[in-house]
Symmetry: C3
Subunit: 441 residues, 3 copies
């Protein structure tokens, strides 16, 4: 069984365009950690995959946190003394400080300036700012816009509501042969920002779509959640599911032109960490492995010491390190169709390792079996194919997984896995671990 099956090179271009189109549809929506924006986004996802949505009421305690009031916004603008909209939420939802409380006032520019945010070093870009947990209001604008504001009295209007409601998140569950779960989590709370994190939402959605209906060893749980509070809420409400998580990935900033970065789980040598490192070593793109740190996205919550889940974070460019991060320049041009498709392929390759990684036992462990008379030693097979067979036979002592063998031999996992399957067919190898059976539903 290969999850990569169907994600072949030929379909890369069309798949990338389809993924990019999906992200483009989500792009204009004004999302936040609560409210209609994220619900509308989940609706789009639900059109692609089987998705359950959950509404958690404002005020609900989740560990040390409280589900906040629900925020919605219809309109927002700054009007100049002549009444002309000089900063307009309708043109770009980044213009409003996310979670701004309602405002409807006239004020002098000098006072207004205390609520304005720009990026002087990138005078054409609008910054993205939030104030979730402290009631405030503000506008984000380009530095050019700001410098053109003349003294005078401005009309300031934010037509938002911040009141009791719900935190909404989506979950897609795919049952596998065992109840052991792989968690794929992405934050879906940022407004018109493409790489952070429509890229993650898109890759997760297409991954779920690709896995649906396949015969899977693991069960899969895809989470589309608001950052931080969403992960904490989900963890607080799903203690039993948490127990079943064997591996996990947070997907974020995964559509841009940069090389891959995988940030290890807190454990540092979990199977997901080794699987991701192996796949990235062989992925044909630049790739770096980062040590765990308690900062970043929702791996912070999954890897808090009470849970310490084996969850890493797969990215291309790392949040905070590229200038477009959290600005209007993180737009649909910043993410690339082919990069989205290749990110999907890399995710699938990582899952392929997890799905197929197990220990085997060489049935003829004394000396080498005579491969020649079984047609397994022919020159036609090519050197690495034979080496893969010899490595699998040599290390299949019930203690080495196929991933161990791939790492030790330097041969890509898929080839090691194919060798193991062929040797099983020929009766030279058998599965040593019955882990598949132990936790079957």
């Amino acid at each position: 069984m290969s999850i990569l099956n169907g994600l072949d090179e030929a379909s890369r271009a069309s798949l990338g365009l389809e993924m990019h189109g999906f992200a483009a549809n989500l792009f204009p929506i004004c999302r936040s950690i609560t409210g209609n924006g994220i619900r509308q986004t989940l609706g789009h996802i639900k059109a692609q995959i089987s998705l359950n949505t959950f509404d958690v009421p404002s005020g609900k305690r989740v560990f040390d946190w409280t589900v906040p009031k629900e925020w919605n916004i219809r309109d927002a603008y700054i009007a100049d003394p002549a009444g002309k909209r000089v900063v307009d939420f309708q043109k770009c939802n980044l213009h409003v400080l996310n979670y701004s409380v309602p405002v409807n006032e006239k004020m002098l520019l000098s006072k207004l300036k205390g609520h304005l945010f720009t990026i002087p070093e990138h005078p054409d870009w609008i910054p993205y700012r939030t104030s979730y947990y402290k009631e405030d209001w503000g506008f984000c604008l380009t530095h050019h816009q700001m410098t053109q504001l003349k003294d005078g009295e401005y009309g300031v209007r934010i037509d938002s509501t911040l009141q009791d409601g719900f935190l909404t998140y989506g979950e897609c569950f795919l049952a596998g042969r065992t109840r052991e779960e792989i968690l794929i989590s992405c934050h879906a709370c940022h407004p018109s920002l493409a790489n952070d994190n429509l890229s993650g939402v898109t890759v997760a959605t297409f991954l779920a779509k690709h896995l649906a209906g396949r015969d899977l060893r693991y069960s899969y749980r895809f989470l589309f959640i608001p950052g931080t509070i969403g992960a904490i809420t989900w963890l607080a409400r799903n203690r039993e599911a948490v127990e079943r998580i064997r591996h996990g990935l947070v997907l974020t900033c995964i559509g841009d032109a940069g090389g891959f970065h995988y940030k290890k789980s807190r454990r540092g040598n979990a199977e997901i960490d080794r699987a991701a490192a192996h796949v990235l070593r062989h992925c044909g793109e630049e790739a770096k492995i980062l040590e765990f740190s308690p900062y970043g996205y929702d791996e912070r919550q999954y890897c808090s010491p009470g849970f310490n889940l084996p969850v890493g974070c797969l990215m291309r460019s790392v949040w905070g390190t590229f200038p477009e991060y959290h600005t209007s320049a993180d737009n649909l041009e910043f993410i690339r169709p082919l990069k989205l498709a290749d990110s999907l392929r890399v995710c699938a390759a990582i899952l392929d390792v997890l799905e197929n990684n197990r220990c085997y036992r060489n049935e003829l462990p004394y000396g080498e079996p005579q491969l020649g008379r079984r047609g397994l030693y022919g020159g036609e097979a090519g050197g690495e194919e034979i080496m893969a067979r010899l490595w699998v036979l040599n290390l299949s002592d019930g203690h080495h997984t196929l991933l161990d063998i791939a790492e030790q031999s330097g041969i890509v996992f898929s080839r090691i896995c194919a060798a193991a399957e062929l040797l099983c067919e020929k009766g030279l190898l058998s599965v040593a671990s019955d882990d598949q059976l132990k936790s079957t539903v």
Copy 2:
């Protein structure tokens, strides 16, 4: 006790010439994995050391393999249309595909060409080819010879026999103070190829000759066997001896001018692996340590998962990496007298480590003993000699072997060992482990 004793620098040149002369006597013999050639070779070895030979009949099952029919050859040639021998086994036994079935035919060049092997990039060299486990026939010739063949009808004659007989191998056993064994194995099945593996046969023979009659901690078993099938046959027939193997070395390609290569055992950190790495680090020649891989020579069989013996492989140039490999250019000029002698010295140094490596206990472990009043701290002794004493005293807590101490201190084992012996004499040190006694005969 030092095995190196007698292999001193002064005798290097004459020893090398003696070893090269031994190899030169064996060179012309047409060996194969069975037949008179290997028996004749074992006869030459028997003239040097105490050797038992064993005949295992064709058809005998050995693990997954079957002892093949015995092959012998008297003559082989290709005669041109005028009847002139243009390829002649009498001139070089590499000319015939090893294990060729008998042929006596006339055929057109076009048909004959399907049975000819050359090396176009080295047009003056004859390749070495075999077909042990698939009945076939063929000739190996220089590319120049091939290009000079004109169209026409050729006489093709291989006067060989392939019939039930025996697989023959030789064993030299030297009893030590314990029944624990060190295995030295070399393949003796290649025809006129010098480095691969008359070099291994020669070094093993002279090593056995040098060890004979000495007071040894370990018992030694030297195997002169056909590659692959010989090792498998020996393993299948000697399960009890296998249990007693504590360390082992496969010797191959060990006479050329290249630096040393030691390929680690499957265990990767066996005492033999550490001893070999230590000796090579201090041997004064270039030396590389290679990780285990399940390809190569008979270490493949000794390190199969059912046995997983601590057997490494000592080489100079690595098989397959030098152009002369498996060609007529691997001749008596390709191996050098001094290199053979130095390979013998390195083997002896490795065995010296194994023979002398044990844990000691400092008898005055509280503070330093006063070396000065025992004449052990004198300036005349030279810095490293005193450092060796201090290191041995400091680390001899019953848990560090002399090899551990040599590695940690960076001081060569022989000097550490000499320090330990002197400290024992002075009553400052005693043997901590009674491993010598435990398994005494």
Copy 3:
């Protein structure tokens, strides 16, 4: 609690001068491993800190050693044929071979020369030489002095005594909250040599002075002892105190302008080794970590296998590696006030790590606690301050010490420690280990 408190940057210059002045007072004294010189030195130290002195009689067996006779000297000189003192102990106490037996003779230059020591490569420097355990006499002089000696009869006078007496050492004990001890040891037996080891004596004295009266977790024992025989004598007489040593430092050659060197304890990964490495990594000066070796100063005795104490050695330039070592050029100019002060600060920083290093437990380990509402997440706090809190929360699972966290995060221990204290105040963290209570007096 910070030991560094009071050793602030501002007072560096005046502290350095005070330390240098202390060393300058000790400089002229003719010390040796026994005798009035070391007693006079201990007297100076006693004026600064609470010091007990111990007298161990000559002839006393201490492990493998014997306390030697006591050596004292009043005068020594070589007088030329005209009666003029050409080498004069009164000008520099290095001129006499330390531990010289009495002499009062006339002899020809040719005979005298067998007792003279110079350094031809540094013709203006007087070497420092000793003959503690072999009765002998001699003079050390500059090479220039030597070359100016003309043939003739010289008067040779050493007015010394070598007779039964005492070996004297000093001990400063500071009781902490627990009986677990930190050992600070320095040799105080060298005559007019500044870096080796008035620097160590000075840093240790000022460290003890600084710690006195503070509320300390550990008890501290400062040893001012003659090298080798002093450490062995102390170890032989204090088996119970030895049992309580948890960490230790030998201080030597710690006042010159070179960068720091820390030589690890025999254990190699003791807490003192990690604490010292951490502090040196962040100390702002060049610093190197050296592996343990059984040569050097009194760590040799503390790290002998019977004790194997976690005692490292902190130096600036390493003994034996700088040309001034054991010569008259190791004088008061060779040690620098600011370097003495910074060495003191580094020692205090290492002790701060040991004093404060323990395991904590995150009280809200499921997801992150909401730092924002506690004022712990504000932008004003600066990035690394927040990161320190996140690291402490994430790794405080009862298994990671603060030093583990400092190492893994790359953040300096003091900041990690401050974060832990703040989080404790806020109720988010508590001490996990009760190691403080276990061994309280």
